[in-house]
Amino acid sequence: MENSLDPAPPLLEVRGISKSFGAVRALQDVDFTLRAGEIHALLGENGAGKSTLIKVVTGVFPRDAGVVRLGGDEVAPRSAKAALEAGIATVYQEVNLLPNLSVAQNLFLDRQPMRFGIVREGEMRRRAKALLTEFGLDIDVAAPLGNYSIAIQHVTAIARAVDLSARVLILDEPTASLDRHEVEILFGIMRQLAKRGIGIVFVSHFLDQVYEISDRITVLRNGRLVGERETASLTRLELIRMMLGRELAETTSARAAASDRPPREVCASFENYGKTGYVAPFNLELRHGEVVGLAGLLGSGRTETARLVFGAERPDGGQAKVEGAPVRLQSPRDGVRHGFGYCPEERKTDGIVAELTVRENIVLALQAKRGLHRPLSRREQDEIAGRYVKMLDIRPPDPERPVGLLSGGNQQKALLARWLATSPRLLVLDEPTRGIDVGAHAEIIRLIRELCDDGLALLVISSELDEIVTYSDRVVVLRDRAHVEELAGEAIDVTNILAAIAADGAAMHEARV
């Protein structure tokens, strides 16, 4: 573990950090070393304590024990600002920017270019524009950040941290909502920064990315340090074993000969369904026991399609049918009533009710479906929550914990549990594996298949094409808010999907793989 060949003091040195939240020991005696000019991956399962470590180091949470040294000197930042001033810039896991401020203000908050005590708005916008161009983003920097998609917000957050020109840059799951093209750009920038001697901490659940970019890896498990390795000398299997503490069941085999099976019954169908300015009219058939994948670039209209299908958005034309009977889907309640479920992509704002317990979050949709007058008894609630906590391995396995205190991945599982509890006939999953660790990722994909075998119809959105290919029976490709292509059976592979996405000349450059 110790690298005695290295003479200079490490850039960032963390020794014996511990942190508890009440009874939960999130970190126990963790060490971590970051050298100048390296890209260091911090890995671990959901809830392993990665984000907590980052927050403790940057002073967001007070620490119970341990020391942090920066360039050999002990530092004890007591706020994010203090950490910044000490030279540690951080992009925290959930996008932590302000949707109400303009993009430019977000980039330069608290460090705007000034003259005579007055913010130089024009200069700030010019710089913002230039900064984002480096990240391949050409947007109106005067518009409120909230107008833009999560992906753009994430890029903005990264750009801000990068531009702070600190000595240490910490990125907590920066790539979770980015597509390949943007990831490429980010990696390019990260390499440049590393060359300049900046140390970078990189958290991700995408192991491909970890192998592509990182020099060394530190693994945490259950709040404890498992080990620190050179990336080059660590095999994937070994890494997964370090993270999970066990072997991972093989998951990557293609879906068993879906085309062999007899065609299933149609669960829900949409004809000429659409909403002007939102997504162009489309035809879509969802069958029991079938997974339909939605693929496309950021902003291609996948989420919009999902919202229309579920009923979260009102269509202005077209006909929806459930089990052959025409229905009106005007609100989420309609969707729920017809046995639909929807896990939205923005889990913090659209998914969880942070203050309520895991149990309450899980039973919420079922309760809403049953109506006010048929409350689930406490016993039923406990039973349901207990079942799903176990089934999805939600950690910590305490149904009475406010869901907001769970790690991101575990929140995602709780959301999934919410809909499974309603025994839906159609489940719409928007980026269900975002921010989920390898173990859970495999779990969720296995679950998707099982559900499907039980007759559930699934509509799944994912930016990870490999993943889509793995479980989809059909893939609908979207471009510019229109459904442009449907692939089925043998035709489903990454190349074909990319070809469909890129068929349009304008999108060509996006498709560099």
Partner: protein, 330 residues
């Protein structure tokens, strides 16, 4: 929930005990109780009795606040409903009078709920409208005078007793139990908390958030109506100019002292009522103390601050975690 209650309520119970002890010091006969004309009599009873209007208001208010709303109009609604009850009391039977007054409160609540849930106005301005206009409506009903009545039925609501317990106290207790039964006995409580905690997410989970919001304002209106009727019955007249004046602030204060966040989500009915009692215990203590009235507000300010600090998240463990969680929400 039942398990959490004592832990959550500890600060409030402690505060109440301290204030009661102070009251005992300023007024040695504070805990004396006796039966007077078949009715319990004593300072403690005064606290409960005088506390009923705010306790009733806070029962409705706590639900509104749980949905991240606020209702400034409750004082005015009290005045309206008191005025209606008083004007009808001598010509109609009690059920009719009550139905009219509570119906009016329901309509007021519906109006507020409509503005908030359907038109999407910010609760504080939406209810400010009725706060201003409502008192006018009440005065219109009474034409600015104090409308008195003699109907023994209505008077009984204010001054009567059931097994020695003054009727207002019994009504407040009944409403607490009723509200608790409705809210916790059905799924309403959960759905309200979900709506207040994250309306967008709840909507997507199939919760009828608009219906929830409408419902809580309606209930708040009904509670205010009842408080108004009791206030009128108490003085055997409807004083539209002053009934319920500034009580909305006391009700909000009671809810917050009861530990419910103004940002919605988790709520506790019992603690909100306890909050109302804390306020009234303090008020009665001030009256008994014999200090000149110039000091009233200062004492009130100091006590309120002290009670708040007592339950400050920074000073207690469990609440601290909750608050941290709240802060991390956008």
């Amino acid at each position: 929930m039942t398990m959490l209650l004592p832990r959550r309520g500890l600060a409030q119970i402690l505060a109440l005990i301290v204030i009661l002890a102070v009251d005992r010091v300023v007024s040695p006969q504070f805990f004396d109780l006796r039966l007077q004309d078949g009715r319990l009599f004593g300072s403690l009873i005064d606290v409960l009795n005088r506390g009923t209007p705010v306790a009733l208001l806070s029962l409705g208010m706590v639900l509104v606040i749980a949905t991240r709303g606020i209702d400034l109009s409750v004082g005015a609604v009290m005045a309206i409903c008191g005025a209606i009850a008083a004007s009808l009391a001598d010509s109609h039977s009690l059920p009719v009078v009550l139905a009219a007054a509570l119906g009016a409160g329901l309509l007021c609540g519906l109006w507020n709920g409509f503005l908030v849930a359907v038109l999407g106005m910010q609760p504080i301005v939406a209810t400010l409208i009725l706060m201003v206009a409502g008192r006018g409506i009440a005065q219109l009903i009474t034409e600015g005078r104090i409308v008195t009545f003699t109907s023994p039925d209505l008077v009984w609501l204010g001054n009567g007793a059931i097994l020695g317990v003054p009727v207002p106290i019994a009504i407040a207790l009944g409403m607490l139990i009723l509200t608790g039964a409705v809210v916790r006995g059905s799924a309403l409580g959960l759905l309200i908390e979900a709506t207040g905690g994250n309306a967008r997410a709840s909507e997507l989970a199939g919760v009828g958030t608009r219906a929830m919001i409408l419902a809580v304002y309606v209930w708040c209106g009904v509670c205010a109506a009842l408080a108004g009727v009791i206030a009128a019955a108490d003085i055997m007249g409807a004083d539209a100019n002053n009934a319920g004046l500034w009580l909305e602030l006391d009700a909000i204060l009671a809810v917050v002292i009861g530990g419910t966040s103004l940002f919605g989500g988790r709520f506790s009915l019992v603690l909100a009522v306890l909050g109302a009692l804390i306020i009234q215990t303090m008020n009665t203590g001030i009256l008994l103390s014999g200090y000149p009235p110039e000091f009233n507000l200062l004492v009130k300010a100091v006590v309120v601050l002290a009670v708040l600090l007592l339950q400050s998240p920074k000073l207690s463990g469990f609440a601290g975690i909750m608050a941290r969680l709240r802060r991390t929400k956008p």
